[in-house]
């Protein structure tokens, strides 16, 4: 016997409010994170053979390839921003009796994101 209280909600509950919608879109960025991880696996697989590798990038150098990349990039940027905005909620710091400003924690993460991106781009492009 299930003695737990069960409340039923319609499956479309997340369309009711803007904040619910943003929450659901945030959770669904996971689809794009996985899709891009699978794409990277194809890149690694094809890196075995230079001909196969350049074939992949020649195929991507098309309007369809660029549109797909643009959609993925937009979703991943949304993921990064919403993830960093969550950091002050997970990490609550106290200095003496005062709580460290949540904006400072998020700000430090934004800075880390920019620095990490710049370092990786520099390493690959230099």
């Amino acid at each position: 016997m299930d003695r737990h209280y069960v409340r039923k909600l319609p499956a479309t509950w997340w369309l009711r409010k803007r904040t619910y919608l943003v929450f659901m879109l945030r959770e669904l960025t996971s689809v794009f994170v996985v899709a891009y991880a699978l794409f990277l696996m194809v890149v690694i697989w094809r890196a075995d053979d230079p001909g196969s590798f350049s074939g992949l990038f020649d195929a991507l150098d098309s309007p369809v390839g660029l549109v797909l990349h643009a959609i993925v990039l937009a979703a991943l940027l949304f993921h990064s921003i919403t993830w960093i905005n969550l950091t002050p909620k997970v990490l609550v710091l106290w200095r003496d009796d005062e709580q460290v400003d949540p904006r400072l924690i998020a700000g430090a993460n934004y800075l880390g994101w920019v620095v990490a991106s710049a370092v990786l781009a520099w390493l690959v492009l230099k």
């Binding site: 909600l9 996971s30 689809v31 996985v34 990038f57």
Partner: protein
Amino acid sequence: MAGVEVTAESRPATPLWWLLFSAGGVMSAFFMPVTVFLTSIAVAADWLDEEELLDAVRHPLGRAYLFLLVSLSLFHGAHRFRYALVDLGFPWLGRRAWLFYGLATIGTGVCGWFVLRL
């Protein structure tokens, strides 16, 4: 009735899955956009030619980086998507934890093999 069940029952995620979820969240949030930039815009604009990109992928550090990014992102996505499925009214699917973490584990193994065979 189709819909989302809201129950008092909570199934705490084991610390390992949560750790992998959050490590993957940080890794993908910090490094995926710039990686997309490098594999798309930078190549299309000729800031990076395909040979240089290939060298970067095959470099030992490049391989270690890609393996970590892929594996942690798979665990991140598996965990988050599983809970999204429960919230969207598919608890029968989302609660099959072994399915999602199993696929991420298989993906990690396959990626490890891809990286080692280069």
